[in-house]
Amino acid sequence: MAEVTYEDVTCCYPGSDTPSVAGLSLDVPDGEFMVLVGPSGSGKTTALRLLAGLEELTDGRIEIDGRDVSGVDARDRDIAMVFQNYALYPNKTVAENIGFALKMQGVDRAEREQRVREAASMLGLEELLNRKPRQLSGGQRQRVAMGRAIVRRPKAFLMDEPLSNLDAKLRVQTRVQIAELQRRLGTTTVYVTHDQGEAMTLGSRVAVLKDGTLQQCAPPRELYDDPVNAFVAGFIGLPQMNLIRLGLEDGHVRLGEERLEVPREIASDAADRGAKEIIVGIRPEHVTVADSAGGEGIAGEVLLVESLGADSYVHASLAGSDTSFVARTEGYDSREPGTNVRLRIDPSRIYGFDADTEERLGAGERSRSGSGAPSEHR
């Protein structure tokens, strides 16, 4: 178990002008479950592979347990990795796959078999030890890959989208198992995923990356309530936050046919920057949908209703504009496309972002952070 540190890490592949990872600085304390999340091409996998020693740093340094490992080969870093496609050795049995690293370390046969049995027991693989990978299901292979990592008792676990090849139900089950296992073992874990739902449920802290740069690193709740920019606000949360570019006049924005007052701190910050236009953000759960006969609210027309059982997502266009909104309603929503509705927004729940830099407006005056370490961001 160890602390992991990225210090101003940059990685630029040969022949490329744009770095895959640019100036990444991140601390992962001992025992923490850190999730790196971002869209494709955000540099999260490269960051993980740099930590693993499978890619070369262009600049910066990486430390594991206080030791600079920037120039150290992958086999000498004492970390274990679970690959996206499991990377099991096809000609070895489950037991041989799990025990391979111990064999390379020169661990004697008796101890090796004992530790393999222990790891297999933790993951429910006892009956499968003599099978080959081709005889296993996707979930079983994933567990063997996990077993191969935990049997080594490494300083850190690295996981590169280990659930992406599983079906939805198995993904949820395995996610819980991974979280429980990490809690039980207490090993520092760096986990990469593109699924923000996975990130929010697994990580004790989540680092959001975009185009190789760290946007924000904070506990999940803080990312959700207190995003530092429009990218984080739009990436975290399902369904995605409604983000609309609107003109700002006298502390008000025009949404459809209605004039809406933005929170004072947003208006004040925008005024300080001389901004005539801002990006307004509203979470779908902060929009209520009422029948048109209700009177108050922004006039709109239902485009589509997605019913998911416990919740429904109502997609509506706003009268008098090209803008569409997503609202989350409880239970089954039976409204048909074409239905006229009224959308009501709680003004205190409005987020504002600079239209040019996409930075959060009014964040300094209204911080909702309260979960420990302050956000790290650039």
Partner: protein, 291 residues
């Protein structure tokens, strides 16, 4: 009521729609073509085996004969003609040259695929360019060089030449098999602490074993059937089976039945090797065809 209920619940099984008539005819046509091609290619071999069981007088007739009294007399004569040493020479030259080829081609292919060295494309082209020179053009300097080092009519000469002859093909084949090894399992092996030796022996070679078998078999076939070097560089001590076969084409005449018997015997080791390794051969040659 019960009868109505029974009728209502009894359903006719739905007739499954198989491939249409056009698809079936197409399938039959392709199968017929495949059989025809197989028979056309196999027929000379079949005729050779049939001829080997004919008496010499019946072996060559202006109208080919299918009815005859089979005999083993020609086989007896071939065995008593001193075939043993030729068979042994072929076996030694083939086996040792194949082992040498695999020992050299494996690290070469590794360096040209999984851990590519600088200018690997040039190296690869160099390998295959050596096959572009017809051996006829090189036989004189090779003969002179072998004579200079006093290695004419010796098996080591054949082993060296067969190794050089098969190495480019083996490197190309092995490289393509190595490229099929998923990069992630190599990375996993590295992270598990495997050094280069263990990476090769524990991870890579078991995965490419079918390709290794296919490469070995093809090199063995080429070495076993090689005639030009053998007939020019050997005479008494190191002559191989192809040279022995040519002995039945003499100024006294062409002994078809004996030649067929000797050729059948010469084919047997390669056929056995191919039969034993057929699964690996198919897997190895089709590796990479389907992702």
């Amino acid at each position: 009521m019960a009868t109505v209920a029974a009728t209502a619940t009894r359903r006719r099984p739905r007739r499954r729609r198989g491939p249409g008539l056009r698809a079936r005819l197409s399938s039959v046509a392709w199968a017929t073509l495949a059989w025809f091609a197989g028979i056309v290619f196999f027929f000379p071999v079949l005729w050779m085996v049939i001829t080997s069981f004919k008496p010499e007088a019946a072996a060559y007739t202006s109208n080919p004969k299918f009815d005859f009294s089979p005999t083993l007399s020609e086989y007896k004569q071939v065995f008593s003609a001193g075939m043993g040493p030729f068979l042994a020479n072929s076996a030694i030259a083939t086996v040792l040259s194949v082992l040498l080829v695999l020992a050299l081609a494996t690290p070469a292919a590794y360096a040209l695929s999984l851990r590519p060295v600088g200018k690997w494309r040039d190296a690869l082209f160099f390998f295959i360019s050596t096959k572009m020179l017809p051996v006829v053009a090189a036989i004189v300097p090779i003969y002179l060089a072998v004579r200079e080092v006093d290695m004419l009519d010796s098996i080591p000469t054949l082993i060296i030449l067969y190794t050089a002859m098969n190495l480019p093909i083996a490197v190309w084949m092995m490289r393509s098999f190595f490229l099929e090894v998923p990069g992630e399992i190599l990375e996993a092996a590295r992270m598990d602490g495997a050094d280069l030796r263990h990476e090769l022996t524990e991870v890579v070679l078991p995965v490419v074993a079918p390709g290794l078998a296919a490469t070995a078999l093809i090199c063995a076939i080429f070495a076993w059937n090689e005639f030009f070097f053998a007939v020019n560089l050997t005479s008494i001590r190191a002559a191989t089976m192809p040279v022995f076969l040519v002995g039945f084409v003499s100024s006294e005449g062409l002994f078809w039945a004996k030649l067929a018997a000797a050729a059948t015997i010469a084919s047997v080791p390669v056929l056995i090797a191919g039969w034993v390794a057929q699964r690996q051969l198919v897997r190895g040659l089709s590796m990479g065809a389907i992702k």
